[in-house]
Symmetry: C2
Subunit: 368 residues, 2 copies
């Protein structure tokens, strides 16, 4: 049976339909800045144990919805679940971010990566999605997500975060580009399968995070990042039409997809050309400029500097107004989803998020 | 007496005069990838001791000129000498980059920073410049440099490098913008004084590195980065005309200035508007696109991905050709200085630099 959300502002904005105010959610909204998150996390143990426990992942996913009335929930998980499921062994070190026990060092390592069946290796994600959907009870839509092939490859080759813009991975562009492409093709298939599984389990929209696309030289961005995202968008869109119809939706539309390339401000037209319904914009880019480049063929999502949430209430209010003003006119055929330009900081005072949500609602209503 | 360089290709390119081939130098060209550098560095002790020893700083400055016949020398120093001279205590930790013993935490700390006299506190730099000039004996021009006010402030407030795009500094944009402006104004004055001192000591061109300008939101880039660089360019240009005339130059031109903003690809027109003679381009940006935005009112410097020097000779050659092709037509009124899009990696095989230099010479001659 078709879903009737109590609040479908987010989906309407992604589909560029009229909205009475600008919907808002925040990247990494279920996280360490929330005391209730830290309590659940303590119960789970480490970060990956929390991701792999559907009940607790559901609990933390709903915490920011309950507290702030945000307009979308996002699955609590990590962008790197795929390489973990491929056997690389994801873990997190305090202050250093994600690390892999094994890393991809050679063409043999790439050849050894088999086609992963996400319904087996990432079954815990499907379970988390269906648990969350049940618990959300149609209050707001649920977003599923994955890292992009290039971003997954960055971590898989480097073995973790990088202090030098993934130099060791960029080296492959100039020494083993064919092997790198084979890795990206495998990841592209895995990401498609994984996002389709999340949609089957109930995700109402999906987002691809190309966190390190901005480190690619312009001459290689299309070939090593964008062409793979385009393939994913095509495959997921196609599969999602059938899934939606099987679930009782009567239109032929696909599940909305958002593509976010951090540092991608120079390539927004190319990102829009992936076929995504919405383009995520980081904090360095002017939203109005992004819109002038992309036109209104995509919705835009973003792009408040997460650092502004460490500032004063009056600065938060003026930055929210500036962000909404920079997007410009809203109305039918135009879509804006308010968000940060990157994940929320763990140092954010929780009351500042309430201030942001209220400011977005108040100011965006005035613009209509 | 006016200087007649044996090789003045670099200065001609900066002044957009005709060149018979494209000049080339590399950011961080005197560095750890060179065995002769490591030998001198061992003799000096730590990195700052090498910077502060004019004889040894001269030695390492000339090493890549002797080995590769590059078209410009750059003073061996660090972008953070100014805050060090202001008493913050610069040191380097293996694998972690620059750190300060003290950091700027409050408005009181900013008020306590006095106007620095570079001829006293940074006298070792003036000595290094004049020692290098003598030793170069007019073979090629010498470049002096400094970090930009915003980039210096990033390190001074954060206390060192950052894993989160200097979130702690961006916080000041939304909580203490006036205090941050007072710090930037003091740094702006210090950078002007410092670059003028380097020109008085013999620097033939100067470069401002805004390594972290790309982390600023578009709405704040002008106010917190560019306006200060514009002030510096104006002050240094003005002072340099007199210095050059006093040294026997008969024209009224100023010392050429290069401004480089890493991650600044979205703001190239603004960077060109600082009045700089040349704009440095990082590896993410297409040179031809940069040129179409800026026009030919500035020379461009860049922008090969430093990672390509970790690749094969055939990839280096094709990337060099692609870079020169992307710049496009050369001739009078147009200036291109070949460089990397960021500092050279310590892991670069020295023979790959020879390959690059030869490829730039051969291919760029063919384009004329």
């Amino acid at each position: 049976m078709a879903q009737n959300f109590k609040n479908d502002l987010f989906l309407r904005a992604l589909r560029r339909q009229a909205t009475e105010r600008t919907p808002v959610w925040l990247m990494r909204q279920a996280g360490r800045y929330l005391p209730e998150y830290n309590a659940t996390r303590k119960q789970a143990g480490d970060f990956m144990s929390l991701c792999k426990n559907p009940e607790l992942a559901c609990e933390v996913t709903l915490q920011p919805i309950d507290r702030y009335g945000l307009d979308a929930a996002i699955l609590f998980s990590d962008i790197l679940t795929i390489p973990d499921a491929m056997g690389l062994g994801l873990y997190f070190v305090q202050g250093e971010g994600p690390c892999f026990k094994k890393r991809i060092e050679s063409e043999t390592d790439i050849a050894a990566l088999g086609r992963m069946d996400p319904s087996v290796e990432l079954n815990y994600v499907a379970q988390a999605v269906s648990t969350i959907k049940k618990s959300l009870d149609r209050r707001v839509p649920l977003i599923g997500f994955s890292g992009s092939p290039w971003t997954l490859a960055c971590y898989m080759i480097n073995g973790g975060s990088s202090g030098d813009d993934f130099l060791s991975v960029r080296k492959w562009l100039y020494s083993r580009p064919d092997a790198l492409q084979r890795l990206l093709e495998k990841l592209s298939q895995a990401v498609s399968d994984y996002l389709i599984m999340q949609i089957e389990a109930g995700a109402d929209a999906v987002m691809v995070f190309d966190s390190w696309g901005g480190f690619l030289p312009e001459a290689h961005f299309e070939r090593f990042s964008q062409q793979h995202i385009r393939t994913i968008v095509e495959q997921v869109a196609k599969a999602s039409v059938g899934i939606r119809r099987a679930n009782g939706e009567t239109d032929n539309s696909s599940t909305p997809m958002i593509v976010f390339v951090k540092g991608g401000g120079q390539w927004l037209e190319s990102i829009a050309n992936t076929g995504a319904d919405a383009v995520g914009i980081d904090w360095a880019t002017n939203l109005g400029h992004a819109r002038s480049l992309i036109g209104d063929r995509c919705a835009l999502q973003g792009n408040l500097d997460p650092a502004s949430l460490l500032g004063t209430a009056s600065h938060i209010e003026s930055e929210v107004a500036r962000t909404l003003d920079s997007f410009g006119r809203v109305g039918p055929g135009v879509g804006h989803v308010f968000n940060l330009g990157h994940g929320i900081s763990q140092f954010t005072p929780p009351e500042n998020v309430a201030c942001l949500v209220e400011a977005v609602a108040n100011y965006s209503k005035k613009l209509r």
